[in-house]
């Protein structure tokens, strides 16, 4: 998410500097390799996709996706609506047959061997897909039953997830009367009632308030800590940045893949933040400049991503301040800022290839 401005042109962030790392950094593996940022040493491939493609008529929803997901990681799919996130997930869950390419999930070839896979995988759909006319407990029971849990196991698991997700007071309630956040919790409870090794979540928190989203993600990390591999799609930057690794999808293609920190680091030194009065004129002035790839107004400040060939950020800010003052803008100032995921998205949208692994 964008760095929140205070809206008054007050003290902006200090010029970007390498964050000091205490202790050891997670990656002992070279950054930029596909295994970078793995949380655990055991690099067992849970998902392997090569050239995964899906066409709907003339439309190519997913185009040659290569993907490796390792056991125990929270792997994010980040992309705008229509980028092919849902289609990719549906192919990996076996609900859609790929037009081209191969996918192996937990060692099973998709979609031929999908039935062997079902009970080991959990899937939470984008749209709430439980039964509104069954109670919370009945929904859980149905899921536990259909996933083949025997009676004792079923009872135990249902009580466990009810306790885990705090659904106790709502067990007799119909999902239709639950709020968005509670619905998501129930959906996650249902998706995990059979203790899947691998969990697919398709925009699980769309339309849910920030508090519930935070809680939801806490649960995800608990599941990951318990050994569940999670593939989650989102278009929230604040969620994407929490993933161990992230695949940015654009127009059905993999635009970038790596740890969130590697993705943002690739744009280091190319972000400036300026302020002036009136801010909208500053915005127009910056957006019109060749060195600026894109500018975003944040209250009274403007956050700008510099084009690849632009002069160093500090130099540019120093040059811009007097220039803008001469154009009649008041109280002009600027700093070099830290890149965020939104900048990454913008850069990728403009067709830029991120130079991952240049810096260590």
């Amino acid at each position: 998410m964008a760095d929140p401005g205070d809206g008054n042109g007050g003290t902006p962030a200090e010029p970007g500097s390498e964050p000091r790392v205490f202790g050891t950094e997670t990656a002992a593996i070279p950054i930029g390799s596909s295994t970078a940022g793995m949380p655990i040493a055991n690099l067992e491939r849970v998902i392997e996709a090569r050239g995964l493609t899906r066409r709907f008529g003339d439309l190519t929803a997913v185009d040659g996706l290569d993907l490796d997901v390792f056991r125990g990681e929270v792997f994010g799919f980040l992309g705008p609506n229509g980028a092919g996130k849902s289609t990719s997930i549906r192919m990996l869950v076996g609900l859609l047959t790929p037009s081209e390419g191969v996918a192996r999930v937990l060692g099973c070839t998709m979609p031929e061997e999908v039935e062997e896979l079902r009970s080991r995988v959990g899937y939470m759909t984008q749209k709430f897909s439980l039964y509104d006319d069954l109670s919370v407990a009945e929904n859980l029971e149905f899921a536990a039953e259909i996933f083949g849990l025997d009676r004792d196991r079923r009872r135990l698991r249902i009580e466990e997830v009810i306790a885990e997700y705090g659904l106790g007071p709502r067990r007799g309630q119909r999902p239709a009367t639950l709020s968005g956040g509670w619905k998501q919790r129930l959906a996650l409870a249902v998706a995990t009632v059979h203790e899947p090794e691998l969990l697919f979540l398709d925009e699980p928190t769309a339309g849910v308030d920030p508090d519930s989203r935070r809680l939801f993600w806490e649960k995800l990390f608990q599941l990951a800590a318990a050994g569940t591999t999670i593939l989650v799609s989102t278009h929230y930057m604040d969620e994407a940045i929490r993933c161990h690794r992230l695949c940015v999808v654009r127009d059905g293609r993999r635009a970038a893949l790596g740890r969130p920190v590697d993705l943002t680091r690739a744009l280091e030194g190319r972000i400036i933040e300026m302020w002036a009065r009136p801010a909208h004129r500053l915005m127009a002035a910056l957006a019109g400049r060749q060195e600026v790839m894109s500018a975003t107004q944040l209250g009274s400040r403007v956050h700008a991503l510099l084009a690849p060939g632009a002069p160093p950020a500090e130099e540019l800010v120093a040059r811009l301040v007097p220039q803008l003052e001469s154009e009649g803008l008041k109280r002009v100032g600027g700093v070099v800022a830290d890149p965020n995921l939104e900048d990454v998205m913008v850069a990728l949208t403009r067709g830029e290839e991120l130079a991952l692994g240049e810096k260590t």
Partner: protein, 432 residues
Amino acid sequence: MSEARSEKTRRTLARRLETASRAAFRPVDVVGRSILGARYALVRRRVMSVARKELRQLLRDRLTMGFVVGVPAIQLLLFGYAINQDIRHIPTGLVDHSNTSISRQLVGELQATQTFDVTEQVRSEQEARRLLERGAIRAAVVVPADYARAYYRGRGAEILVLVDAADPILARAVRASANGLMERHNRRQQQFDVGTEGGARRVTRERTSFGAEPELIRPEFLRFEVLNLYNPELRTPVFVVPALLGVILTTTMILMTSLSIVRERERGSFEFLIATPVRRTELMAGKLLPYIGIGLVQIVIVVVTGLVLFEVPIAGSLLDLGVASLVFIAANLTLGLVISSVTTSQFQATQMSFFFFLPSVLLSGFMFPFEAMPKPAQWLGELLPLTHFIRASRGILLRGSSLVDQLPELGAMLLFCAVGFWAATRLFTKQL
């Protein structure tokens, strides 16, 4: 080019808006006419905007448009051809004990009425009754052994006509036709007699009195004795209730199952369901099971109501009826599944169920006698499971026929099931 045009459009629009806003601020007359006018214009605009939106959506739903256009045409065809109370070609069994040229002549006359269609040559009345019970024939004509002798002796032969009166319309048609034939036959005979000996005929009364002179007597005429079997009082409910059983099952079973899967699709739970380990056939079987139970409950309700309120006889075994009903329910359920697999919304599924329901009611023999329909309509009717169930349920309930007698109907329904289930498994995929 297009930019220049859009610029031109923009300017025209702006000019129009300006004139309009000037007009809007025109002073209002005492009666407030222009205010009313403006209000009316707003009302009209809002109504029209809703109407236009509605029409757009309708035109985009191809299936609905198909129904809008197709249903009236099909309905008209079905009604036009199926509604025909003029019963012809009733499958008839002939028991010709006489087997003389004169009895064959009578049979020829019988056939010439076009009401009767002698499809079976039967040896005895008992056998004819069995065939009637089985439903192989709907009427039987018994020519007595002494027909020829009685005819020549002027004693007036009696022809027995057995008719499956479970269907009062059929029974009345048979009676009317028999009476007509009798009248024609006798009148012709009379004319012939008048022509010869002035209203009387010279017949040999007794064969035993060898060498006796033929006497001149006024002969008695031919008589048809029509016997109404199974429903002697010709009560309509007796005929309707067993068929209604099938109609009720058709409506509820097809509609409920056709909605069952498409509802999950619409609500989004389908995606959850197909990502679970449940297999395709397991899912379908699980979907159908409760409806079989519901269908059986409906059967009990209809049979008990028919028994208590309408005094419908239960001539056959209720177990047989139960088995036939189960097969029929299964046939409807598989059809519902097929509909559910090919439609994308509950609305479409409802329409499609109705589309099937309509010919079922019209062509199955529920509303109009099957025998009265033209051949193509009958062929179509044979394709419908309801036709076969109605035959079976009427046979079992009214004529006391057994399940073995109804095997052809049962077989037809089972075939329908098999085809339906095959199609359903083909069309239904555990994918999006």
